[in-house]
């Protein structure tokens, strides 16, 4: 019989002990999948939701703009930038926008807030949270002087569809300017701060008001296909803009290319905090499980001291005993992974497809860091996370087997033979 066959039989000598160990490894897989799955799913959602609030995953803007978004900072030749972005790998779409602060007044009252000026012909709800949250009315036409306001602001200013709104802001040169717009729609995102302080305006009208030329804007917001590749896509966007700007003698002015990590630093901080607490709990789970495996294997080695002595006496090399125990821990690892996969698959698919409604536990604030989050707990795992979990659990099991295996190969044969 070969070593792996022998190892396989050996692990079944204590069925209950092996079973309990396999279940605990499996439970580790289960916990790791659950916490990583919540992370993969909710981080992706938060990042995408936040990217859809104006800045995109990547934004191309004037230096210092994101720290204080005033309208004297702008980029130009946005048409050329858009053209270059068109076939940059990983880029899904891009939008030219003007974002600024202002005062918004009705006949009753005025409030401070911010506006996002967009091109109604290119923007869709798929990439723009405000459009997706349109509750009443519709989006303005491109060359109109319409405005879409948040529900909170509409209530404060007693606005209804068709009513007039005056917005006041500073123009390109820092002069105060104002303009009248008519409410064409009202949105409700569910994020209070946003609904009470945000309006959408047509970009052409805003350009006219603040004195931007038709190829000037605050930023170009870039949406990418998969947020995980932000860094990579950002690098290729930068490379492309840099090289083609030189060739075409375009865009000589300063500009910055930023990712959501900078423009939405609150979300980024929240995610990295959550992620590190996740890591810590996963490390703890891993340690607990390793201790269990170590204990099982060590016990099984120590109770076979005599047997190992006989095997060495008849000519088995000490290093073969080491490998025997390593193979035993490999079998245990496979067994544990199999149990883990079996118990985790139904759980994963349930939470992936159906999820658990947590709205009861969350009260009525479904936001975190100013971004809407899904009140239904769901799991989603990226393939590389699955591979990572399975290989970490497998490696931990193997590592836990090292010490017992070393012990097995190290006891001198005479001493082993004396143990009964």
């Amino acid at each position: 019989m070969n070593l792996s066959g022998l190892a396989w039989r050996n692990i079944w000598r204590r069925k209950r002990r092996t079973g309990i160990t396999a279940i605990s490894i499996g439970f580790g897989v289960f916990l790791a999948v659950t916490s990583s799955g919540i992370g993969d799913y909710s981080y992706t959602n938060m990042i995408n939701a936040s990217a859809q609030m104006g800045w995109g995953h990547i934004s191309i803007e004037a230096p210092g703009y994101y720290q204080s978004p005033a309208l004297d900072k702008h980029i130009n030749q946005v048409g050329a930038i858009q053209q270059m972005l068109q076939n940059t790998p990983g880029v899904e779409s891009n939008y030219v926008r003007i974002m600024g602060q202002g005062m918004f007044a009705s006949a009753h009252k005025s409030v401070g807030g911010a506006f996002l000026a967009i091109d109604p012909n290119t923007e869709t709800g798929a990439h723009n949270l405000f459009l997706r949250s349109l509750e009443e009315g519709k989006l303005f036409a491109a060359n109109s002087s319409g405005v879409v306001v948040g529900r909170g602001m509409a209530q404060k200013l007693k606005l209804r569809l068709g009513k007039k709104l005056v917005y006041t802001t500073t123009d390109k040169k820092g002069e105060i300017v104002s303009e009248i717009a008519r409410v064409t729609g009202i949105f409700t995102t569910g994020v209070k701060e946003v609904d009470s302080a945000f309006v959408l305006l047509p970009i052409n009208a805003v350009r006219h008001t603040i004195g931007y030329k038709s190829d000037e804007a605050s930023l170009v917001a870039v949406m990418i296909e998969d947020q995980r590749y932000t860094t990579k896509v950002l690098a290729s966007v930068r490379e492309r803009l840099d090289s083609e700007s030189g060739q075409n003698n375009l865009l000589t002015q300063n500009r910055e290319i930023l990712s959501w990590r900078e423009t939405q630093s609150e979300i980024a901080g929240l995610i990295s905090l959550d992620r590190s607490s996740n890591y810590i709990s996963q490390i703890l789970i891993g340690l607990l499980i390793s201790a269990g495996i170590l204990n099982t294997l060590l016990m099984s080695v120590l109770e076979r001291t005599r047997e190992f002595g006989v095997m060495m006496a008849v000519g088995m090399a000490p290093h073969s005993l080491f490998f025997l125990v390593i193979i035993e821990s490999t079998w245990l690892a496979f067994l544990g992974l199999a149990v883990g996969i079996l118990i985790t698959i139904p759980w994963y698919f349930y939470l992936n497809r159906i999820g658990i409604d947590m709205s009861g536990a969350m009260g009525d604030d479904y936001t975190a860091g100013g971004v809407l989050i899904d009140p239904v707990l769901r799991l989603y795992l990226y393939p590389e996370t699955i591979v990572a979990i399975l290989s970490v659990v497998f490696l931990l099991t193997l590592l836990s087997g090292l010490y017992p295996a070393w012990r097995a190969g190290r006891i001198p044969p005479v001493e082993s033979l004396k143990a009964m």
Partner: protein, 231 residues
Amino acid sequence: MAPAEKKVIISIQQVSKSYQQGKVKVNAVNDLSLDIEEGEFTALCGPSGSGKTTLLNMIGGLDLPTEGVIKLELQELAQLSRMALSHLRRDRIGFVFQAYNLIPVMTAYENAEFVLALQGMPKAQRRERVMSILKQVGLQGLESRRPDEMSGGQQQRVAIARAIVTHPAVVLADEPTANVDSENAEALLDLMEELNQREGITFIFSTHDPRVMKRARRLVYLRDGQLDPAA
């Protein structure tokens, strides 16, 4: 007709083995010299604690002497590496212990086959060899029994089968009959004697049972780790 010159296969020269037990030094074997020739059927006898097990373990390369030289087929054991000793035990020495000789998860067949597999012998050849040895030791039909499905005597037969299956130079048996009843003890001795005479395998076994001593062709008496001149 002069008897053919017998070859010395084990040479023990002024060997001592001492253990430190707390502050006391125990001399398990004390300045002992002994030659064993090919084909011997020798019993090491002596009271408990006289050093029988210690001596057998040193001959088998499981333990090394504190002083003196042990040679097996002209090789000085103390000069071999751990790996070389392991190979020597695998290829040239058969061991039979008093009890718990067998690997519990393996059948009689697999236990007997184990050392051949360690040697890397091809499967078909192993099968032929193991089947014939198991038949020789009277275990035909019990090949697929696990140790816990066999009597003590049957288990010792498997151990003997495993010890001789590689055609070793010597079989070292430490009280091989101590855990079986006298009827089985006689049968095991018959088997060992037969293997010794027919195959010419050298046997050294330890015992304190006078009935077993009677069956040996040479008796080596030990007392306090030395040859007992009085016996």
